[in-house]
């Protein structure tokens, strides 16, 4: 049972996601048939799946949604923002319920109430009062006795539309005929007519005063039933109800079921169709009848049966002859159940463990070249060298294969965006189109985790500050609807996610002014900033371009938090903006968190790594070009003045005693301004498996982790932002 329940939880989530995406698509293009069909199917499938468990409110809610969508599909209803909101609310509620079901195994206590409220909004029942008890008046359905249901043929479990119609006593004067109206109820399953109060004697009865009340059950959707009563919405209550199967009927006495199926076979033979259809049905009927009779222990003359299946009359005569008195047959246990296939799911921790082992393997194999050298040039040495090379290749492939296990498409982090844009735009009274691209680009699960929040924030920021209100857009000669593009692709150093909008852009002059006002820069420094650098100020800590912080972009989570999160993961943020035309922000992240491509540098005999994503360039700078003003050094690189930082000093090592004419400089790109990092030597680039600092090392600031190089040497990977 729990496996089935787990299955349900997983499938329900998927269906809710699908429904959400389709609903968004449908709202963009109400004529999108594929979207409405997919949406309908998602609700329909959910209805079926929830029906398997004891969660009637859930079933009722999705049924109401299905009804609304059915009306939408048939053109009886239109998708306006209001209905879309209600459908979204139903989906959100469904998601909350799935969470509750997963954690508690049951729906919360208020589920019934919630389902009623949300369903009433969806079915568009004319009864708009609702909220509290929208189906008051329909208690009669619960009170239906088995005899009444049997009489109406309502034996199986079914979800029907229930109706109570209490006509206005004066309704005859306005030309209403309640009974005639009830005749119009589509797929009428039950109609009960009763006096609303005991009828007086004939002499005392006013023939023009309506005293009757009508109860009905219909197999049609609530909306269909409601449309019959659209002229008298105040006199009816309509809502879906779920009937349970009558006990002892559906599964019934076996002979009863056999009889029912046999009767159905007779009916099948009377159905119309072309000769091929009918031949096929006859063949199926013959085999079904033979099996049923066999199951009941009757001997079957198959040839006679086949002949009898020519028409219903012949089959009936055959059956009468074949079944004298059915001797019940004791059930033989049907063989043992077969084994079940198990799904293969991998826990992330196991992949991590695998990655750690590969790291150990890398270190272990790095001792081979040294051994090979010791062994010399003889055959042992040659052999070791060959084995070592082979190991290198295999470990590389192993690492690659293991990494792939963790790769997931970026569409995962895109998932919440459509809904975010839709809801936010609606709240801000802006029209915004979201274009997503490159969702199939893959990145490590850890990277996706890092990416999620910043991406949400960037999109919110575009909605909030980027895209202008429609009137402002119109005044600027732009289409009233703004566009936000989120596009992902792979680059050689990692994955890139771009968020761009065609909004107002960022005005560098305003940025400079704001920076001065906030005391981040003095007037001269602000003036010295290029336009690009001024725009980059949005990433400076404590900076906000809007005069007031909108609740949409989140309090305390500014653009600097986006930058910090991305850089912590070894990535970088770029921005380009043109006032009046829009803004483009790029997040560049490594493919994985665990494997980081670093530039290996040396200082005071130690090796350090700097993530490649932060390295803007490497060069030798003549010592004469480094200018010192008081203690601060700087160098002109290109047309920029870049501060110089000596890694030895930064890490508390003594200065390099050697005389040199030029320094090795690594230009680090830390957003805003660059930094020229003076190191003793610059070495190779290497892909290393970054391990967080453990034990005593954890207290050290300025390092993002340790890593082993291919030859086994240890490397400290610098966290430059923290260091500087």
């Amino acid at each position: 049972m729990s496996a089935l329940f787990d299955q349900f939880v997983g499938e329900a989530r998927e269906l809710l996601d699908t429904a959400g995406a389709s609903l968004l698509a449908l709202e963009r293009d109400p004529a999108d048939r594929a979207a409405i069909n997919e949406l309908f199917r998602a609700f329909h499938t959910l209805k079926g799946a929830t029906g398997l468990f004891d969660m009637a409110p859930f079933t009722r809610l999705v049924h109401a949604g299905e009804d609304a969508l059915s009306a939408l599909r048939d053109g009886r209803r239109r998708l306006d923002a209001e209905l879309a909101d209600r459908l979204f609310r139903a989906l959100d509620q469904g998601a909350r319920w799935v969470d509750a079901l997963e954690s508690d195994g049951t729906l919360p206590g208020d589920a019934d109430e919630t389902a009623r409220r949300l369903s009433a909004g969806l079915t568009g029942t004319p009864d708009a009062a609702p909220a509290v008890a929208p189906v008051a008046g329909l208690e009669w359905v619960e009170a239906l006795d088995d005899a009444a249901r049997r009489a109406a043929g309502l034996i199986d479990a079914a979800t029907l539309t229930a109706l109570v119609y209490a006509p206005d006593p004066e309704c005859f004067f306005t030309g209403d005929d309640p009974l005639a109206l009830c005749r119009k109820i589509p797929d009428l399953r039950l109609l009960a007519i009763e006096p609303a109060e005991p009828l007086p004697l004939l002499a005392g009865l006013d023939p023009y005063r309506c005293l009757l009340r009508f109860h009905a059950l219909s197999g049609a959707a609530a909306t269909e039933v409601a449309s019959v009563f659209r002229a008298v919405p105040d006199q009816v209550r309509i809502a879906p109800v779920t009937l349970r199967a009558l006990p002892g009927e559906a599964g019934g006495p076996e002979d009863g079921l056999a009889g029912a199926i046999l009767r159905e076979q007779l009916r099948i033979l009377t159905l119309p169709g072309d000769s091929l259809d009918r031949d096929g049905r006859r063949a199926a009927v013959a085999r079904a009848v033979a099996n049923i009779l066999g199951a009941q222990g009757h001997a079957v003359d198959r040839a006679a049966l086949d002949t009898a299946c020519a028409d219903a009359g012949a089959l009936r005569r055959f059956l009468d002859a074949a079944r004298p008195v059915a001797p019940p047959v004791e059930a033989a246990p049907v063989a043992t159940p077969s084994g079940r296939r198990a799904l293969l799911r991998i826990e992330p921790e196991r992949v991590d463990q695998l990655m750690a082992l590969i790291g150990e393997l890398t270190v272990a194999k790095s001792q081979l070249p040294a051994l090979a050298r010791q062994a010399g040039a003889d055959s042992l040495g040659q052999g070791l060298k060959a084995v070592s090379a082979r190991f290198d290749a295999l470990v590389g492939e192993l690492q690659h294969a293991a990494l792939r296990l963790r790769l997931l498409p970026l569409s995962r982090v895109f998932e919440p965006l459509p809904r975010l844009v839709r809801d936010t735009a609606r709240r801000l009274d802006k029209t915004v189109e979201l274009a997503l691209g490159g969702g199939d680009t893959e990145a490590d699960k850890d990277i996706l985790d890092v990416l999620g929040e910043p991406l949400l924030h960037l999109v919110r920021n575009s909605l909030d500050h980027g895209i202008e209100p429609p009137d402002r857009r119109a005044a600027a000669g732009k289409p009233p609807s703004g566009v936000i593009r989120v596009h992902a692709f792979q680059e050689k150093d990692g994955v890139v996610v771009e968020v761009s909008d065609d909004g107002a852009g960022i005005d560098p002059a305003k940025m400079r002014a704001a920076a001065i006002r906030k005391g981040l820069l003095d007037a001269a420094a602000a003036e010295a900033l290029g336009d690009d650098e001024a725009v980059r100020l949005v990433f400076a800590p404590g900076f906000s371009t809007a005069s007031g912080v909108s609740d949409l972009s989140g309090r305390g989570v500014g653009m600097d938090a986006v930058r910090a999160a991305v850089e912590r993961a070894g990535g970088r943020v770029e921005i380009a903006s043109t006032p009046g035309e829009g803004t483009r922000i790029r997040l560049v992240l490594p493919l994985t968190l665990s494997i980081t491509r670093v530039v290996v540098i040396e200082a005071a005999g130690e090796l350090f790594g700097v993530p490649v994503t932060l390295v803007g360039g490497m060069r030798r700078v003549p010592c004469a070009d480094i200018r010192a003003v008081k203690r601060a050094e700087s160098v002109v690189l290109g047309d920029r003045v870049v501060p110089v930082v000596r890694l030895r000093r930064l890490l508390g090592f003594p200065d390099d005693p050697r005389e040199r004419s030029a320094e090795y400089v690594l230009v680090a790109d830390l957003g805003g301004t660059g930094v020229a990092l003076v190191v003793d030597d610059v070495r190779e680039r290497a892909d290393v498996m970054l391990r967080p600092m453990h034990g005593v090392l954890r207290g050290l600031r300025g390092y993002s982790g340790t890593a082993a190089l291919g030859d086994g040497r240890l490397l400290l990977v610098l966290d430059l932002r923290e260091l500087l």
Binding site: F172, D177, P178, L179, C182, P195, L199, P200, L205, L211
Partner: protein
């Protein structure tokens, strides 16, 4: 004439509307052991049904109309 009155029998035919209510009420009040024949009735106005339910005349013939036969006739038969 949608309702024809013959001695103790009222024959309902076709569409029997609300304007039949007053004559039917008078006839039902005046007639001992009244009987109604609904066989040919295709529409029975609620006002008429209500009168029949209050007066409970014997049902001489049930309606042939499927809707009336299924949902209305059982109320009058008892």
């Amino acid at each position: 004439m949608p309702i024809r009155y013959e001695d103790g029998l009222a024959r309902f035919e076709g569409l029997c509307a609300v304007d039949e209510a007053l004559p039917l009420a008078e006839w039902l009040e005046a007639t001992e052991a009244a009987r109604v024949d609904l066989a040919a009735c295709t529409e029975l106005h609620t006002a008429l049904l209500q009168l029949l339910l209050a007066a409970r005349p014997a049902l001489a013939a049930p309606p042939e109309d499927a809707f009336l036969r299924r949902w209305v006739a059982p109320l009058l038969a008892g």
